[in-house]
């Protein structure tokens, strides 16, 4: 097949996002992803149906979860003949999965598919440390009982401390927050601007719940009916009282209030061709137009860890012959309030756009009233791989409600990655 066709976002489902160590303490990634899938299946009456594929992943994975997506399909009410595979691109996982599924639909390789992601920091994998692991491997390969005993005798108490997963960057040793604190300072992002963005996120998300926006996007899980990180009464004044947690010195600005907390949750998005949607009498919410992934060299180069999205946006706009102002919604994942603000500042900076992006001029400012209008990660929380699915489904519904227009989705990710995409309302 040489021609391509349009791929559409048809709907989505997620479970409420919950702060780490809370209500989902006993839930595994597979439990959560399976529940998210089942909620989607019941919403669209797909019980027993074979879909083209399910692409999903998690950032923090147990080794037993090597086939997480497929195992979740087998535990769900989808037909067991639905193929599935795991995707992993840090916080970009969910959106990247949607891109993969949309591309296969566009190529006619599949007619329908689910993209998703799940993450838990409550049921995170703890591994034995490298030193103990090497010792145990020696025990395993020992041929005689004597060899085995002598290998076991080498275990020392210090080896028993488990290796904890960390969100530190392997090549710099800095945590993501520490990286971002440097970037925040470089771009001169103020504490006030960050707290304002955070308060707006909470207020927007609360309003969205209030008007029933999530009634067909979310299914309760383990007795939780709403994201429990949400603080509807959040204000910049209240947020101003928090102490900084990232950065050093008196000018540190990043607090627990304007950074996303560790969160547990899962989300899925249903995509399909127009024909498949028609066959199932499903009204498409939005067209999946195009996507771009960029990466920056934050290790040896002169770019910051979370600054890849502006690079991806610039290339995506150019390819689609659009300006930054041609959008009705901007869905910028709020890893930290300052990440979003740094991206906006960079896009508006002539120096950055000319010097770093190689453009003739700045891409310009955006209308801030169109930014994260139903709240984003600061309020909802951010179970790494689940954020993309949350954003894609919500954004598609927003476009459907508006009945026209275009949305720009942008997600920054560990390792200097950035994933961005364009959705458009269906005619």
């Amino acid at each position: 097949m040489t021609t391509t066709r349009d791929a559409y976002v048809l709907g989505g489902n997620r479970i409420p996002f919950v702060r780490s160590g809370g209500k989902y303490l006993k839930a595994s990634n597979q439990d959560m992803l399976t529940s998210a899938l089942d909620g989607l299946v019941s919403r669209f009456g797909l019980s027993g149906e074979r879909l083209g594929e399910v692409a999903a992943g998690a950032v923090l994975k147990h080794s037993r979860d090597f086939n997480l997506a497929r195992e979740s399909v087998l535990g769900s009410h989808l037909s067991p003949t639905t193929p599935a595979y795991d995707v992993q691109q840090a916080c970009g996982t969910g959106l990247e999965a949607a891109i993969l599924v949309a591309n296969k639909i566009a190529l006619g390789q599949i007619d329908s598919g689910v993209a998703g992601g799940t993450d838990t920091t409550s049921d995170a994998p703890l591994a034995v440390n490298d030193s103990l692991r090497r010792t145990l491997m020696k025990v395993n390969y020992a041929k005689t009982p004597q060899q085995r005993i002598s290998a076991l005798a080498k275990i020392r108490p210090g080896q028993l401390a488990p290796d904890q997963p960390s969100n530190g960057e392997p090549r710099t040793g800095l945590s993501m927050g520490e990286h971002q604190a440097i970037t925040t300072k470089e771009w001169g992002i103020t504490r006030e601007a960050q707290d304002e963005l955070a308060a707006a996120s909470h207020q927007h998300l609360a309003a969205a719940y209030e008007r029933g926006f999530f009634d067909d996007l979310l299914t309760p899980y383990l007795g939780v009916t709403k994201d429990n990180n949400l603080r509807p009464d959040s204000t910049p004044e209240k947020l101003a009282k928090l102490k900084p947690v990232f950065g050093t010195g008196d000018d540190a600005t990043m607090t627990a209030g304007n950074s996303t907390p560790l969160t547990d949750g899962a989300s899925v998005v249903l995509l399909g061709s127009k024909e498949w949607a028609d066959e199932h009498r499903i009204t498409p919410l939005a067209r999946f137009v195009d996507a771009e992934t960029a990466a920056v060299d934050y290790v040896t180069g002169d770019e910051s860890l979370l600054m890849a999205p502006p690079y991806a946006i610039a290339r995506l706009l150019q390819r689609n012959d659009l300006t930054l102002q041609d959008f009705d919604f901007y869905e910028f994942h709020e890893a930290f309030a300052s990440t979003v603000l740094c991206h906006l500042a960079a896009l508006a900076s002539e120096d950055f756009c000319k010097g770093k992006l190689g453009l003739d001029a700045a891409l310009g400012e955006i209308d801030r009233d169109k930014l994260n209008v139903n709240g984003s990660s600061l309020a909802a929380g951010h179970p790494f791989a689940a954020t993309g699915g949350r954003i894609v489904a919500s954004t598609a519904k927003m476009l459907h409600e508006l009945g026209s227009g275009r949305a720009l989705i942008s997600i920054c990710a560990a390792g200097g990655n950035g994933v961005v995409a364009i959705l458009e309302a269906c005619e």
Partner: protein, 456 residues
């Protein structure tokens, strides 16, 4: 579902069984309930009637079509085997003298009626008869069946079908109601009259799956009675859209996926509820065939202590929401609205008939449902839409499991079957109203109460 410990003791425990027998304690029968593919009756059916018994031939044909063995009964008939059912056609009775024919024929047959057996008396709708004695004679049938219902033992039931005169020549309009009352699907329906009017009834090709190809919406389907209604509808072949509030979405999703249904998270009191239901229907078919208003809440408090909120919220969920949703669905221009020939079925309650202490708000809503059903059925008759309600009595649910022990035991035993009903019994009655064959049944409130003395 709550546990009926007493029933288990006297039925399943050998010592309990023997002690109960010696003391003459009441022994609730384990009722025969419908299972897919089950025969209509456990034994032969005895058919008899008064005068030329104009409906008896139709009844016999319906019974034979179901595979039942039919014997013609007279006062002199001697019965070899336990009967599965007695069908008595009293439609031609016009004088009090004629009622003795019923006594003479039915009494010996009842002595041979088996466990979970059925007596169905067929009469003529009294309101149609100009002659006072004729009307009295037909009304008397109600007293007779209700009394026999109270005398029958071992899970047997007695019910009455009043057939309008212009419907008496049409076997098709009688088939679904008669089959329902004879079958195990009506296990907990006892001592009730059902009126059958003339109507266009489509041919029923598949009695086991009468709802195949029909789109049905059930509200309050995440748990309890609603989830059981959904199961019965799924068994009958319906394409289902199950509705419950977003906060119950996880339970709703499980019910829906187990039945291959679609879940719709929705607050029935929201302004857009009707539109969103129609939208969901349009995804599954062109029009809605069956709307089941089951969603309901209780906010019990003595009347004098009931505040505005408890009062309003119960009326809003249990009744006002139905009016709003119906208004949207009955608009012929709405895609996914209710089809002509469709069904509206509401869940009332015996609280709505007899009232209940601490439930003035709830009883108001449920009595209101009854009023709505009666009037709406007339308003929609020209569109062949039937509107009916079921009034559950004591049903073993999570809700009734919370009633204090003594009150619960009274509610549970104070009926002719000496036990509570199951949520599925309510589902069976609702599915009966939903059947295409029930076109002649409208404006009715069918109690599913085991002939409870509460509200009677």
């Amino acid at each position: 579902m709550s546990k009926d410990t007493y029933s288990n003791l006297v039925n399943k425990n050998p010592i309990g069984r023997s002690v109960a027998g010696q003391l003459g304690l009441p022994k609730p029968e384990v009722l025969r309930r419908y299972q897919e593919g089950q025969d209509l009756l456990v034994g032969p059916a005895a058919v008899a009637g008064i005068g030329d018994a104009p409906v008896a031939a139709s009844a016999t044909a319906i019974l034979k079509a179901s595979g039942a063995v039919v014997m013609h009964a007279t006062p002199a008939t001697s019965y070899d085997a336990r009967l599965g059912a007695i069908v008595f056609d009293a439609t031609a009775a016009r004088t009090l003298d004629q009622l003795d024919e019923l006594r003479a024929t039915v009494a010996p047959a009842i002595k041979k009626l088996g466990a979970s057996g059925r007596l169905v008396v067929i009469g003529t709708t009294p309101a149609e008869l100009g002659d006072a004695e004729a009307a009295a004679t037909q009304q008397a049938l109600e007293g007779i069946t209700r009394s026999i219902g109270k005398e029958l033992r071992r899970g047997a039931t007695a019910n009455l079908l009043w057939v309008d005169q212009d419907a008496q020549g049409d076997a098709s309009v009688l088939a679904a109601p008669l089959r329902f009352l004879l079958s195990a699907r009506s296990a907990y329906v006892d001592g009730q009259p059902v009126r059958v009017r003339a109507a266009e009834v489509p041919d029923v090709a598949d009695w086991r799956h009468p709802l195949r190809g029909r789109v049905a919406v059930i509200t309050g389907a995440a748990r309890g009675i609603g989830a059981e209604i959904a199961k019965v509808f799924a068994r009958a072949g319906a394409t289902l859209i199950l509705v419950d509030i977003p906060a119950s979405g996880d339970a709703l999703s499980k019910v829906a996926n187990a039945l291959g249904a679609t879940a719709l998270q929705l607050d029935v009191t929201s302004e857009t509820a009707g539109a969103r239901i129609a939208e969901a229907v349009a995804r599954k078919g062109d029009k809605l065939d069956v709307m089941v208003h089951n969603a309901g809440i209780t906010r019990d408090k003595l009347f004098v202590n009931t505040d505005e909120n408890r009062w309003g919220s119960v009326l809003d969920v249990n009744l006002r929401a139905q009016f709003r949703i119906n208004k949207t669905l009955l608009d012929p221009s709405v895609a996914g609205g209710l089809a002509d020939g469709g069904r509206i079925i509401a869940v009332a309650s015996i609280s709505g008939i007899g009232g209940n202490r601490g439930q003035a708000n709830y009883a108001a809503s449920k009595a209101g449902v009854i009023g709505m059903v009666r009037q709406l059925s007339r308003n929609l008759a020209d569109r062949q839409i039937t509107v009916n309600a079921v009034a559950p009595g004591f049903i073993e649910t999570e809700m009734t499991a919370k009633i204090p022990f003594a009150t619960r035991e009274v509610g549970r035993r104070l009926n002719s079957l000496l036990q509570g009903g199951r949520p599925g019994d309510v589902g069976e009655a609702i599915a009966f109203f939903a059947e295409p064959g029930s076109a002649g049944v409208t404006g009715q409130v069918l109690r599913v109460c085991g002939q409870s003395q509460l509200g009677a």
